[in-house]
């Protein structure tokens, strides 16, 4: 064969249309005004394999505050940092439902807010890095600042994905204010 030996340099993509790690593998979905609290907005990123990442939506009121904060994974008497899963089936992971609080964001002034899960599933992993590096939550909310990894059945994952706001619907709602689609939120 006389074809030229392939070289990694023959694989340079169009650098103007690069997708980030998140964009390559995940579909984003949104829930706004959770519990009727304005801009209490969360984002769930679904991997094509149904694994879901819980994140704060860019419209969350969290991003408009500049106070110092900490991420606390102890909710009531459950310490989510102690979550442990075993085997392929992720047995033993904490059970989550849409209203479960995954963590609290606590400000230095003593105020705080809860981050709800938004879907039913099993807690696989929390982002421990946020405990020592809470700034990641603000700097990279859809990447290294993710809050938790959740696994649910294919059925639940698909149903949740279809039920929540798509990026287009989310942007529409943000730009046009609260309109007829407001009912797409936590039951």
């Amino acid at each position: 064969m006389t074809t030229m030996e392939p070289n990694i340099l023959d694989s340079i993509p169009d650098l103007n249309n690069l997708k980030s790690f998140t964009e390559r593998y995940f579909s984003k979905r949104y829930i706004i005004n959770v519990d009727g609290v304005k801009n209490n907005d969360i984002m769930i990123m679904f991997h094509s394999n149904r694994i879901a990442l819980l994140c704060l939506a860019p419209s969350h009121f969290f991003f408009s505050k500049s106070k110092e904060y900490k991420v606390n994974y102890t909710v009531g008497n459950v310490n989510r940092l102690k979550n442990a899963v075993k085997g392929k089936g992720k047995k033993g992971g904490q059970a989550l439902n849409p209203k479960s609080v995954v963590c609290k964001i606590e400000y230095e002034d003593g105020t705080s807010f809860d981050v709800p899960c938004g879907m039913k599933g099993t807690l696989v992993e929390v982002n421990e890095e946020l405990v020592n590096h809470p700034e990641l939550l603000k700097e990279f909310p859809d990447a290294d600042g993710y809050i938790a990894i959740i696994l649910s059945s294919i059925a639940i994952s698909e149903a949740t994905k279809n039920e929540l706001l798509t990026p287009e619907e989310y942007l529409d709602l943000l730009n046009n204010g609260v309109n007829g689609k407001e009912d797409k939120k936590l039951e």
């Binding site: 064969m1 694989s11 650098l15």
Partner: protein
């Protein structure tokens, strides 16, 4: 022992000539090729040498005395025949009787003609009626009863005698050489059934009812060992197990021919970034129109005339690990093997070369050589998957300024000579350690749905960075890693789940744009050894 007395008694009971030789314990294969002549010879010889002892040996109640007397005159005719011409042997139920072989040979020939094996040798195996085994036991016990010194453990097994007699005849009929199962890859199995089997074995139930019930519950056949094996003659008689003249003979009901699997070994180069290694199905729907496996299978299936359905279960693909759909595998390629079940023949050198050309013609996969290997050598593949180092070429992009860049005032993000130098000097292991980087990888999210969540320690053994001409933000890396290292995740850090990542080494955000496997360090295919395949 008095051979003639044994033959006489066997004949009286209704055994065929071949079974007579079996009860004599004869293990000389050629004896079974012409049983009648051999039986005759023995009678003459024992007539010459052992006439004195004969009458004493023979139990009076069975002795018809004429045979012994005749033998002293070098009897020209065979011993008294209890089975008439065309009669069925009470022991083998006709399995060893030449007059029953034609239909068997014809059935084998038909299957062989249909399958078209080119193998010039064959081994044959018999699945015999259980009733024949029970009857064998009965005859042996009778011999022991009547001839006190008879060793009932020396009976030549039916299957052996069958191979030596029927097998030789079959060889002539099908034009192949009979060989042992340890040597010939082609095995012909005949299933003989005895129509009266069930009713005849019914009596055995009484001998060990519990054992029979257990076997029946387990869906097993009647077993001779379940009752007749250790039973005494009296017990068998009491249970009503009889070995009278059979009304029908055992018949060949099916023939199975199977050639030992063929294993072809090679290395594949994958030149496409849109080709999975094996068919990629999501909910039964294919995600990509082809795969490395399918491209390699196609000409092999064609060579053996396999339909797509047949290929699906007759061809099996094995490899030392796999790469992602969008990762090329270059250099010498990745070791793999294909198992061909029940091949009609061994491919020639020329055909193997032709297979490689056909695989490679589409330009997505290149296989430079294919060689036949032994089954035991496959273990190397799996071992290679777990233990061998891999070398990768990775194309990465720097996405943010590194700490040093900011000190210089920023501007466009670019890979600086200092970045390259820093990466080439980077290590987080003690000087002298064989690895440059020790890292911890959590199970990547992309496989987390089907693998346990674990934090694995992995090592990068070599790391060499270089700038990319005319692409200031890009860098190319050559990375040699321990088996099991996820290189993409190391490059972008996977949301911080692999630590330290390339980004940590550079002090800037990084992503990976393209990945090639450059080398899989496994010697493959294994050097051919002179050991013949020992498995069937």
């Amino acid at each position: 022992m008095n051979q003639k007395a044994v033959i006489k008694l066997c004949k009286d009971l209704g055994c065929c000539d071949a079974c007579c030789l079996r009860y004599l314990g004869l293990k000389n294969p050629t004896a079974y090729e012409n049983v009648q002549e051999f039986v005759h010879k023995i009678c003459e010889e024992s007539g010459k040498h052992a006439q004195d002892t004969e009458t004493r040996d023979l139990p009076t109640q069975l002795s018809e005395s004429t045979a012994e007397q005749n033998s002293t005159h070098q009897c020209p005719e065979p011993p008294a025949k209890r089975i008439k011409v065309g009669g069925i042997c009470v022991s083998c139920l006709g399995v060893l009787q030449e007059e029953n072989w034609q239909p068997c040979c014809d059935m084998v020939k038909e299957v062989l003609d249909k399958k078209g094996y080119e193998c010039e040798t064959f081994a044959c195996a018999l699945s015999a009626p259980i009733a024949a085994l029970v009857r064998e036991r009965l005859v042996a016990l009778q011999l022991k009863h009547d001839l006190l010194e008879y060793d009932d453990s020396s009976v030549t097994p039916l299957k052996e005698a069958w191979k030596w007699s029927f097998g030789v005849r079959l060889a002539e009929h099908v034009g192949k050489t009979l060989d042992s199962g340890a040597v010939s890859p082609l095995l012909i199995t005949l299933h003989m059934e005895y129509p009266d089997e069930l009713q005849e074995l019914e009596a055995l139930k009484a001998l060990a009812p519990a054992l029979f019930e257990a076997r029946r519950a387990a869906g097993r056949r009647f077993g001779v060992e379940a009752g007749a094996g250790g039973a005494t003659r009296a017990a068998l008689a009491a249970a009503g197990v009889a070995g009278g003249a059979p009304a029908v003979r055992a018949r060949c009901v099916s023939v199975a021919c199977a050639h030992a699997p063929l294993y072809l070994a090679g290395r594949y180069v994958k030149l496409s970034r849109a080709l999975p290694q094996t068919p990629w199905l999501v909910n039964g729907r294919r995600m990509m129109h082809s795969s490395v496996q399918e491209i390699i299978f196609e000409p092999i299936a064609a060579l053996y005339g396999l339909s797509p359905e047949a290929a699906e279960h007759r061809l099996k693909f094995m490899s030392a690990g796999r790469e992602d759909v969008d990762v090329r595998c270059l250099g010498d390629g990745r070791p793999f093997a294909v198992e061909v079940t029940d091949p009609t023949r061994q491919p020639s050198e020329a055909e193997l070369k032709e297979l490689c050309e056909q695989i490679s013609v589409g330009g997505q996969v290149v296989v430079r050589s294919l060689v036949p290997i032994h089954r035991e050598q496959l273990a190397l593949l799996k071992k290679g998957e777990e233990t061998k180092c891999k070398t990768y070429e990775a194309l990465c992009i720097k996405l943010s300024h590194s700490r040093d860049d900011l000190a210089e005032g920023g501007g466009d993000v670019r890979v600086t000579p200092r970045d390259i130098a820093a990466l080439n000097a980077y290590r987080n292991t003690p000087p002298g350690d064989s690895a440059r980087v020790q890292l911890t990888q959590r199970t990547p999210i992309r496989v987390l749905h089907r693998r346990p969540l674990l934090a694995r320690a992995r090592r990068i053994l070599e790391l060499r960075a270089r700038a990319v001409p005319a692409q200031p933000a890009l860098l190319a890396l050559r990375v040699r890693t321990e088996a099991g290292t996820y290189v993409k995740e190391w490059a972008h850090g996977e949301l911080g789940r692999t630590r330290p990542s390339l980004a940590d080494a550079l002090g800037a955000r990084v992503d990976i744009l393209a990945l090639d496997v450059a080398a899989v360090e496994l010697p493959w295919p294994p050097a051919p050894d002179d050991k013949a395949p020992s498995d069937q």
